[in-house]
């Protein structure tokens, strides 16, 4: 297991290095001058040139790249052009809202979708199954912002049950933290409920056709035991994979939800950084997201051992 872990970690290094080089180069060939953006609309070309020089953007590309590599090697992602804050600190500031939202969303999605998907498979072709399939289509189709506006109008503005917007940190208390997070998490979970429920349904359906299910039933086990201990447990690997990918996607890309609910997270930071051509922040974020993907995938792979005893690393 340890050997596998080390091999996997070692294998991530070239991948991250390639991502780093690509991001660095792509940003430099993308149209847009950070200095012109920072200077404001009324700045003269001379003023923009001075700012460009101060940011080190006049240095040859290779020099800029090696400066950045040197910074990364020392654990420093540099300083944001736009926010004038160390990128590491910027990411740290925004990590809690995004991580909280992502985890709560996945928890809500798993708690709803796995039982639904399992029941739909059990009652394949019945009203529950058909309803779930219908809901899945709707869940995939309704844009997140539309759903968000409807929920805000109904549950916040009309009924006053939840705040329209904002985020409270865990340090402000668990109550306020959860209260502000429920509506965004519910909004965001709809698409994941649809996705995970469909995957669960398909996997459980496949498992239910296996011989060991017939054996379990022949042994006289209750249907709930057959479903949970035999069918669902054996169908877990694809579900865990989808959940893992979902977590990684949520951490990197909940821009719309963060915007509508005013959650100061990583998605919004990424958009702001891209719009401002804030090279150090974009580079730092992409590196962070790459490492996160690798880490989550590693966790998912390791979790297979738990769900399938035949797998050994």
């Amino acid at each position: 297991m340890l050997g596998y872990l080390l091999r996997r970690v070692a294998a991530t290094l070239p991948a991250v290095a390639v991502v780093a080089v690509l991001v660095f180069l792509l940003l430099r060939i993308t149209p847009g001058d950070p200095a012109a953006i920072l200077a404001g609309d009324a700045a003269s070309p001379e003023q923009i040139a001075r700012i460009r020089e101060n940011l080190g953007l006049n240095e040859p590309l290779l020099v800029q790249f090696f400066i950045w590599l040197k910074q990364i090697a020392s654990g420093d992602l540099g300083e944001s052009f736009y926010f004038k804050i160390r990128v590491v600190d910027l990411i740290a500031q925004r990590l809690e809202p995004t991580l909280s939202l992502a985890l709560l969303t996945i928890v809500v999605a798993v708690l709803v979708s796995v039982p639904l998907g399992t029941l739909a498979a059990w009652r394949f072709g019945g009203w529950l199954d058909r309803s779930l399939m219908g809901f899945s289509v709707m869940g995939f189709s309704v844009p997140v912002f539309v759903l968000a506006y409807i929920l805000i109008w109904l549950l916040s503005v009309k009924l006053g049950w939840f705040p329209v917007q904002g985020f409270k940190r865990l340090s402000d208390g668990f109550g306020p933290f959860l209260y502000h997070l429920i509506l965004p998490a519910v909004t965001l979970s709809v698409i994941y409920i649809a996705l995970i429920a469909r995957v669960t349904r398909a996997s459980v359906l496949e498992a239910l056709g296996e011989d060991y299910i017939r054996t379990a039933r022949a042994k006289g086990l209750r249907e709930s035991q057959v479903l949970v201990r035999h069918a669902l447990a054996n169908a877990a690997i694809p579900i865990v994979t989808v959940v893992g990918i979902g977590v990684a996607l949520l951490i990197g890309g909940v821009v719309v939800t963060e915007s509508v609910y005013a959650i100061p997270g990583l998605g919004r930071l990424t958009v702001d950084a891209v719009l401002a051509r804030d090279f150090p922040t974009i580079q730092g974020l992409i590196l962070f997201f790459s490492l996160l993907y690798v880490f989550v995938n590693l966790l998912v792979d390791l979790s297979y051992v738990v769900f399938d005893p035949r797998i050994r690393y």
Binding site: D33, Y149, P163, Y179
Partner: protein, 572 residues
Amino acid sequence: MLNNTNTDGGGFGAPPAASDTGCAGGQNRSAQRSRLSQAGGWLKGKAAVVSMAGLALAACALTLPAVVKAQEKVLNVVPHSNLAILDPIWTTAYMSRNHGYMIYDTLFGTDAKNEVKPQMVETWLVSADRKVWEFKLRDGLEFHDGNPVTSEDVIASLNRWGKRDAMGVAMYSFVDRLETISVNRFRIVFKEPCGFVLEALGKPSSNVPFIMPKRIADTDPFKQIAEHIGSGPYTFKADEFKPGDKAVYLKFRNYKPRPEPASGTAGSKEVFVDRVVWNLALRDGQAGLSALIKGEVDILEQVAFDLYESATKESAISVLKPTIGLQYMCRFNHLHPPFNKPEVRRAALASFSQEAFLRAQVGVKELYKPCPSMFTCGTPYGSAIGTDVQSKSNMKLAQELLKKSGYDGTPVVVMKPTDLMSITKLPDVAAQLMRQAGFKVDLQAMDWQTLVSRRAKKDAPAQGGWNMFCTAWVSPDIWSPINNAALDSRGEKSGWFGWGEDAKLEELRAQFLRATDDEGKKKLAEQIQSRAFEVATHAPVGEFVQPVGLRKNITGLNVSGLANIYWGIRKD
């Protein structure tokens, strides 16, 4: 010009009234049920009501801590954009300017009648030859760190501003030296009489000559300041500042407001709230309005045009229209064909019916008005003199002018920012009108930041340059021939994109800089405008106001339109 928190009122810090949370007694529960039934008949079944009630109970349990939180007067504001740069001299971004008004003070201010009034200055004297100006600061001015404001601080601040701001640079071209006379008196000695000293020192928009402590003002003007201490009505809570999340300001208890009533950026800057929180995370217009209606925020700096009508129907909020607005402008690139010829530019100008731009971009009749003046209608230099080519524009005239100009069919590259809703439709209208006039138009879509970078390029359009872009300016940034960047006609030496060149216009502007009497200035401004239309430096394409939304319990908001400022506001 475009630059494009959870708040403590967001449910916990300053919670909504109990009835709003749905956690009150029987009467409120009854109101709750009534609201439930008003929700459009969405929740018909018992099961739905029961599950909703369950959610409500959970929400009640979670909100309980909010009720016991101590109350302080917190003003929750949703600004029009994010605040990232905290140095209002380093950038011209309006958010940085507004931040500047919170924590810094100015020597002079501009009142609601657009007249310059003393602010930190108590008295001033001008020598007979108008070359020496002496200023005395008010007593009791104090920085947030407890140090008194001295003339050394003022001189250092002006010196830094004079290296960055267009009007500051213009004023400093007249300056011989600045001298300290005493702790609270200083002198500016000019090489020759300068006609806009007070206008420059009291200018309300970017870059505003804010006064900082000398140790901060001594920072290289091309590097951002690292400390944020001023002598203005609010102190900045640097430890609570999170760009993209929130900026917090506290009432500066030692601030000594002027006795005159607040007006524009002048007069009393008395503060009636303890704390102002700028919600920098809430940038969705619809969600912002919902938060305002629900009472989670007190002021929404920009109510989107498409939400204006529904906002005005909400009983809990007011929607105000600023007195002075903004101007939409389309700028020609004078360096490259076809707009290197004034005749071609005039043809485009003649095709630009302002109503078409305004109807497409703003859409709400009461929020816009056509105005051909380059200096904003209703301001001292706003007039219709020399504007015939546009004020009486029509397509036939445009077609004739284009035919006479010898236009050879060179495509006009118009840059369209797709992500900036406030101006995104202007290029479409410009392109369509020019096509009707006979131009061949290449409308290129891009994001605003790409546009900002590309417009700085002097290359030919085929090599990545451009022919035209449209933008918007707040009135104070264009209402004078000195700071109206599009009138700078020094060619490639010109400070602003488009690089217009016209010796006669520059001569008139030079005279304006030296004019010292109001009547003479007005006449020169008229001549400058006439000449600018003659050579078609740019095209003003209409004016509009950006409505502000606020809760009914908020009074005293300054809607002069000069800047977004937050003193004089009461929250009942």
